[in-house]
């Protein structure tokens, strides 16, 4: 099934399994939603549980929090990840902290589905993945879906999780097909090895996973055997899986669709450095530029994004070819 269908299937299965799961967001109940991820949901579960909201991101994230502390399990759609800062207060000061500052009285099982990422020619205000924006917020889980399988199983895990989760999706992947194991629920905090390999470790999320796999395929033809880790969760971050891989390959390449400053990639590299891992080469990063926002102009949008070619080039340098 497609990544888009996988999202819909995860929503459907969780709503069918648990009547406390409700869906909120702009136009989520009309015409399958703006990204057609919600086809059939309102028909199956009714307008009470699948609810179109006004354009009030901060407000309806707050509504979800109120629902959650009263026993519901809301899933909120933020149509473009760029709109997450519009709900900044309810994410940073409420969702993440609510349980802690009430001394554990509250339980906040809210999932925010956030669809982001470039390649669509959507321009500067509609292309962020946003995945690094909410690092460093204890209490808030962060998940990403780099494949159709993850779009299904990670989203199900996020919905079942008793803590708030932002589940990042990539709009450039919506039409991708992949094998989805219906019924599977991912483990919170567990990365996936998207391609096993022995020569270097590539850590990626979202669309960068497929670009890294593409690069690995090219590299394989050159005799370079890259391991690609789809990190899946940024909080908690699956350090053991990364560590195990780097321990074998002794080469680390981070590929992120965000500037390196403030992102998860710098956290991974910092951790490797702090643990004193002996690497054959200094770690490398392919990311969005730290100093250029995403431009609309199609050739420029293409130029700032990591590509299979740029990833492969960095990988070759890491293995001295």
């Amino acid at each position: 099934m497609t990544y888009r269908e996988a999202i819909g299937a995860a929503l459907f299965d969780e709503m069918a399994a648990d009547t406390s799961v409700v869906l909120l967001g702009e136009d989520v109940a009309t015409d399958g939603g703006v990204f057609k991820t919600n086809a059939g949901l309102v028909e199956a579960f009714g307008a009470g549980r699948v609810r179109n909201t006004p354009i009030s991101e901060n407000g309806f994230v707050g509504v979800a929090l109120g629902m959650a502390v009263m026993g519901l399990r809301p899933v909120v759609e933020i149509m473009f990840s760029d709109f997450l800062p519009t709900a900044g207060d309810q994410i940073v000061n409420q969702l993440a902290k609510y349980r802690f500052m009430t001394g554990g009285q509250a339980r906040v099982p809210v999932t925010i589905r956030s669809i982001g990422g470039a390649t669509g020619r959507f321009g500067t205000q509609h292309s962020a993945t946003g995945e690094g924006w909410f690092l460093g917020l204890p209490g808030l889980r962060l998940a990403t879906a780099g494949s159709a399988a993850a779009a299904y199983a990670v989203l199900r895990a996020a919905i079942r999780e008793d803590n708030p989760v932002i589940a990042f999706e990539h709009k450039g992947l919506l039409a991708r097909r992949g094998l989805v194991e219906r019924g599977a629920v991912a483990e919170v905090g567990r990365a996936a090895v998207a391609r096993a390999g022995a020569d270097l470790t590539i850590v990626a999320t979202l669309m960068m996973v497929e670009r890294s796999i593409e690069a690995a395929t090219v590299l394989a033809g050159e005799g370079i055997d890259a391991e690609v880790i789809d990190l899946r969760w940024l909080n908690p971050l699956d350090w053991p899986t990364v560590l195990d891989s780097i321990g074998r390959t002794r080469r680390l390449l981070v590929v992120e669709e965000e500037p390196h400053a403030g992102g998860w990639g710098s956290l991974v590299i910092s951790r490797a450095a702090r643990e004193g891992l002996r690497l054959a080469r200094p770690p490398r990063v392919i990311s969005l530029p730290d100093d250029i926002p995403v431009p609309y102009s199609p050739p420029l949008e293409d130029a700032i994004l990591p590509t299979a070619a740029s990833i492969a080039a960095a990988a070759r340098e890491l293995v001295d070819r």
């Binding site: 409700v22 309806f60 707050g62 009263m70 519901l72 409420q94 802690f100 500052m101």
Partner: protein, 316 residues
């Protein structure tokens, strides 16, 4: 003397004496950080809470001791929270600004202006979805009516007929700013018309009036007829927070409001023909004062939480 109204009287006294003791403890350094007291506003907390059922819920603010006590939080639990002790309502992790008490339906005292409104709407929608006839109330200040979440919350509540009552506690100031310097209208309740909701202004010094208006709004919500914006005109006797002497207030303003003290007003009614004697009221006050003394020392003897305790609470 009506049993219910004498209880309101006592509750207002409880809030008043709690606030006075809290201030003393802050000034003496026994409590650290900041606090936002509500003395002067007791009738709003008590009148609205009296209109709620036990299974109704409310969200409120950093100026939230009044609703905590009106809902029955024991003094020693509240003081312990202010002192950061593990026996506080939030295990000492919240402090004065965050007297949440889920057991008693206080689902969050928020230190971000306006943030509690959509949360109350969400709680109300949970009730609505499950077909429970419960109501949520949101307490917030005059200043909060200027932040975006106020607008978003009222709009969503109206569109969805959420069983919620919005309680604007208009104490004339948001921090140092008079309402009219930040808000172009006099009656905040008038903002209800932007959402086709009823807006009601009530004398926030008169607990009977507050209760009557709140009761109507709560019943309306419970009956599925949607939200109300209730504005209570009141006054905080102190500066915005511990460190604020309130220099921006005109001379005499405080005195003028003190002449309409909510405790005095209800006390006057109870003694004027409702059978209570001044002694009855003095006894209530004395009993509460003694309880405050005891609670303070209980709280002071409670242990601080450990970091390990705190770490366990971050995630469910």
């Amino acid at each position: 003397m009506s049993l219910e109204r004498s209880r309101w009287y006592e509750t207002m006294v409880r809030i008043r004496l709690f606030e006075e003791r809290a201030m003393a403890l802050f000034m003496s350094g026994a409590i650290q950080g900041t606090t936002h007291l509500c003395d002067g506003q007791e009738a709003v907390s008590v009148g609205v809470v009296a209109a709620l059922r036990d299974d109704d819920v409310l969200t409120n603010t950093y100026r939230g001791h009044g609703e905590a006590i009106a809902r029955g939080m024991p003094f020693e639990v509240a003081f312990a929270e202010l002192m950061g002790r593990s026996t506080g309502c939030c295990g000492g992790l919240g402090g004065s600004m965050h007297l949440a008490d889920f057991e008693r339906g206080n689902i969050g005292a928020n230190a971000i202006v306006g943030a509690g409104l959509p949360i109350a709407v969400g709680a109300a929608l949970a009730f609505q979805l499950r077909g429970e006839r419960r109501v949520a109330a949101a307490f917030f200040g005059d200043g909060a009516t200027n932040i975006g979440t106020f607008h978003e919350a009222l709009n969503m509540a109206a569109v969805w007929h959420a069983p919620v009552v919005f309680v604007a506690v208009n104490n004339l100031y948001g921090e140092y700013s008079r309402v009219r310097d930040t808000t172009p209208i006099d009656d905040l309740a008038a903002r209800s018309s932007a959402y086709a909701l009823p807006g009601v202004v009530v004398d926030g010094q008169d607990v009977d009036a507050v209760h009557a208006a709140a009761k109507e709004a709560v019943e309306r919500a419970r009956a599925g007829r949607g939200p109300t914006l209730l504005e209570a005109k009141t006054y905080r006797y102190r500066g915005h927070s511990r460190s604020d002497p309130g220099r921006y207030r005109p001379a005499d303003e405080l005195e003028a409001w003190r002449r309409r003290d909510p405790i005095e007003i209800l006390g006057g009614r109870l003694t004027a023909g409702e059978g209570a004697t001044p002694d009855d009221l003095a006894n209530i006050r004395a009993r509460v004062a003694a309880e405050i003394d005891a609670a303070t020392s209980t709280a002071e003897q409670a242990p601080y939480p450990t970091l390990a305790d705190a770490a366990r609470l971050v995630y469910a």
